[in-house]
Symmetry: C2
Subunit: 506 residues, 2 copies
Amino acid sequence: MITHNIIGFQQSATSGKYIYATDPAMLATLPEAFATATAEETDRAVSKAHQAFNIYRKIPGTRKAEFLHEIAKGIEDLGQVLIERIMQETAYPEARVIVERNRTCAQLRMFAAEAISGGWKTVTIDPALPDRTPAPRPEIRKMMIPLGPVVVFGASNFPLAYSTAGGDVASALAVGCPVIVKAHDSHIGTNALVAEVILEAARKTGMPDGVFSSLNGDGMHTGQQLVLHPLTAAVGFTGSKQGGRALFDLGQQRENPIPVFAEMGSVNPVFIFPGKVRSDSKGLAGQLVASMTMTVGQFCTNPGLLIALKDHHTEAFLDELAIALKVIPEASMLNHGIYKSFHRGVAAVREVNGVIMLHDHQSSEGLRTAPVLATVPADVFLAHPQLHHEVFGPFSIIVLCENMDEMLSVAGALEGQLTATVQVSDDELTETQPLIDILIYKAGRIIMNGVPTGVEVCAAMTHGGPYPASTDSRFTAVGHHAVQRWLRPVSFQNFPANLISGMTND
Amino acid sequence: MITHNIIGFQQSATSGKYIYATDPAMLATLPEAFATATAEETDRAVSKAHQAFNIYRKIPGTRKAEFLHEIAKGIEDLGQVLIERIMQETAYPEARVIVERNRTCAQLRMFAAEAISGGWKTVTIDPALPDRTPAPRPEIRKMMIPLGPVVVFGASNFPLAYSTAGGDVASALAVGCPVIVKAHDSHIGTNALVAEVILEAARKTGMPDGVFSSLNGDGMHTGQQLVLHPLTAAVGFTGSKQGGRALFDLGQQRENPIPVFAEMGSVNPVFIFPGKVRSDSKGLAGQLVASMTMTVGQFCTNPGLLIALKDHHTEAFLDELAIALKVIPEASMLNHGIYKSFHRGVAAVREVNGVIMLHDHQSSEGLRTAPVLATVPADVFLAHPQLHHEVFGPFSIIVLCENMDEMLSVAGALEGQLTATVQVSDDELTETQPLIDILIYKAGRIIMNGVPTGVEVCAAMTHGGPYPASTDSRFTAVGHHAVQRWLRPVSFQNFPANLISGMTND
């Protein structure tokens, strides 16, 4: 395992400072000492990325695809070494890790296909009109070009799919942007394994020195320096609102502001119509509990907020939820910070007058946690904005409304969300219109009779949403269109066609 | 003429404070007293726009198109009243005003066609895969939706095409966003005439109260309040870097940041290859002088920087430029602020050691100005960043390079630009590649053997560019794709088709 910083094709460890990974299940410090990056090393990584950019962006899409395929193959070839390291650093069960590994490789191959097709260039041509009066029109041809070096901050909860070789990295590399990854402290060994795969893949497929770097963070300094570096062109981040907003602010306050795409999670409200509760209380409870507790609730699309009418059908439904939750075993959370923040969040909810804990959990061994479920009357919820924020982990709160109007008020009071879900019986479908009218201005994705977890990687996906779900609701972090975050248009007026094609070598 | 603020279908003038338009050619204050907006009126305009939004966005595209057509017709029907008011407020010659009037109406009709086609929704569908294993895929359907109320700050130099019914307003209205215009002080009477046209068009075509408002600014307060208003969804601005950046910063520092599209102009470098100077020195000089001096140089695509090799062919070319400039008559600039800023900018250039004035102008009657042309050696230019900034008006500086490498260094040292132009003979075309490689990272549009002025309104246009040309190089302010500034995607998962179509009524 490379415990140094990887700066292009070099390894570097000059700080004399080291950080260590933790096994959250055992609360044990893992043995490898990872050298933190110095300011000079950080600068070197970005400068190399800038130099590599001028070569890399002109490499044909077919060769960029080879690079991405080689990364996918390298990740698969790591086999159990990688799987076990991830399990050790995250306390995730093996099946969960394998699903994420397969998704990561599928994403790399999907973006490789995008690199080959060149569809991301979205060429628009207005042909010349030489005979137009009063003035002829020259040909104008617009195409997208890559922005430049991209800095990626990995996600604590997706050590592969949204980290070192995850969606942000793969989409940036596919369209010609070199990447500098700031390794997540929480799975810094996983990062090292994957970064080495990318390093070897770059060498093997003849990519330029600097197309990829991986830095171990020195507290917040490394990340801040990366966002402020004059040669950084864009930033991808997945994590907390506090962290994402801080990086966004740094990016916007630069002399030349840059795009900072921070995906900061949400409570993912699920609106439950009375007919649905009446007709399938048990099925619905099972579906929701599975979504709420998957991976100890550590999904950014975890349904943290359920909204239902206060009636006796809902009472029965709450019983079903409590029964389904009882059999969910305790499991370790990702790290100490997340564990503490979860219990602090739940404690703050518990203190609100009117909140009733349906299924509670206060403490157990290490970072182990069981799901927590509470209810609150809608008027109390509306009067307490602190109940509207995400508690990252296996926590959900059910808002009980007197009537549909109150349900609409709750919808209108929500912050921006990644998703919003409507659970409804077939004969209530048309009644959902006023609610959906509100929800499209609250969320990036609206789900009918499903659960928010399980984000499809496809062209029609929007993973993003109004602030604070993300800092830029106009883009998606998942799916084919994720490449659009790293592009801008340029128009060529009156250009010979061979000059334009020479520019991209495709 | 309505001298009050127009707030939806109401007129309002509660401040007791008034501002007046100026005739720049005569330096005379015009008689109409325009009531400035109070904080309450400003809030009312945005609140009304928000209420109107929920109705307006669902109005079918064909009816939005009727509204836009009615505005275009209303502007044409104003005839000489409008033409003369613009001439009076801008000192533009009639021909220039008529061209802009026609362009404005053409833009309104172009965006009306976009409203009818609904192409801006760019629907993407991933069909359901019910038999997929391990889990079936639901149908996911992505489409763009309008952001909400848009605030538009008009441009001093385009009283019609980039002001009250200009490109920003027409593109926002076409896709369902209500608009609040902050009238430009410099042509506040023109604004009043056009705002009344929009008001009447909205009434006549049955648009909701609040779909359009026009406020007369109370100093900077009105603009700041509009950008900070919680219900404002996006901002369009055309003007100075100082003004644009201030509004951008306000927009990003909000609790929920919003897109602020500021188009802040540029120096629009023109790189002249030696073969072009040799083969067509006189033709080139004539073409460039026309572009430099059109409308007293008051275009954001005005070529303010020429870069050529220092040789005897260029000497002859400079003589041709000076000769062509001599016959350009003095003319009045748009307003006192622009006039003062122009002469302050030129004075700062004049002071730099190494700058030689080829054609100078210091003062004359009122705001009248003649073009100014200077030369500077490339090494001096490179050492003086203050020479890189825009001097808005009929000023250009020619950078003389020792060789092509120095020309590339000048290109590399430039700030972000709206445009960059390459003037080259046919047999030098392939030699331009290294320069164009740099320029695509400096500008939004690259022009081969043309001039930067004369921005085509078409689908392939990019009017925007890296900072400080604009605050967001990923979008264009001109052409069909200008609508993309006011949109974001939302994905519908597992939705019955009739529920989605019911959402937009198209």
